[in-house]
Symmetry: C2
Subunit: 152 residues, 2 copies
């Protein structure tokens, strides 16, 4: 299940499990991390352009990343992240929505100096229960080589 | 204090207040959103390349965004976000670290179809209490025009 740097090929694709967001999760997250009216105030959200409460985009980004962690693909080899690019919030995520993601290998790059690791750029596409794409992003993960490969 | 689309000029710069991360905040966030050993397990973190517990990058991204919200600059005009680019986690953030950010206007773009709004790209540079840059990112915010300007 768990893969190392040498095991990833461009175009490899992984399906994550799902997660359902509740109203409570959305409110709790946003009150600390993104206290805009349409994320923390159901009355104000109803009168906003969104017509109701929506999840913070930072919450959906983190949850989708977490779903990929749950696959275990990088469980033994993940040694941190270096960045994100092209994060796009395409549709609102509302209480009761269930997200799951397809995660595709976009680039595999050995470390320029260290023989024991490299970077993999993963392209995430997250969909809701109706199959609509709500979020796309690229995350760059630092990934270890197989211990025996790193010794060579 | 609060600005509308027409008030932003490229190069305008804002200083946020600060926030101190505790060990508890780091553990609580990561257990839900980023359960990697160096974010949720103090013992494992000590033996990792980081030499101790570090905050999830998704937590620092959201906190830095929140700090900018606290300035009130977009309090009356913010109508959501469309995306992030060039998010770079440059240095670990540890329990007890205090973050604050400089937020600079990188681009101002009227909406191609709607007269009442536009997009502003903000370049965030977050520093710790030693002045070291720990995180940089660009966030695109949707920003309303002044109500009277939008009517023209």
């Amino acid at each position: 299940m768990s893969r190392y740097l040498d095991d990833f090929r461009i175009g490899d694709s992984f399906e994550t499990p799902g997660v359902t967001l509740t109203e409570g999760m959305i409110l709790d997250f946003a009150l600390t991390y993104d206290p805009q009216p349409f994320h923390i105030d159901i009355e104000a959200a109803r009168d906003s352009q969104f017509g109701g409460l929506i999840a913070s985009g930072f919450q959906t980004v983190a949850l989708v990343f977490r779903l990929f962690m749950q696959t275990g693909v990088t469980a033994a080899s993940g040694i941190g992240g270096s960045g994100m690019d092209q994060v796009r919030w395409l549709l609102p995520v509302r209480p009761g929505d269930t997200l799951r993601a397809t995660v595709e290998v976009a680039e595999v790059r050995p470390h320029p100096k260290r023989n024991d690791r490299g970077a993999v750029r993963f392209r995430y596409t997250a969909r809701n229960q109706r199959g609509e794409t709500v979020l796309t992003m690229i995350c760059e993960h630092l990934i270890a080589r197989r211990p025996e490969a790193a010794l060579r």
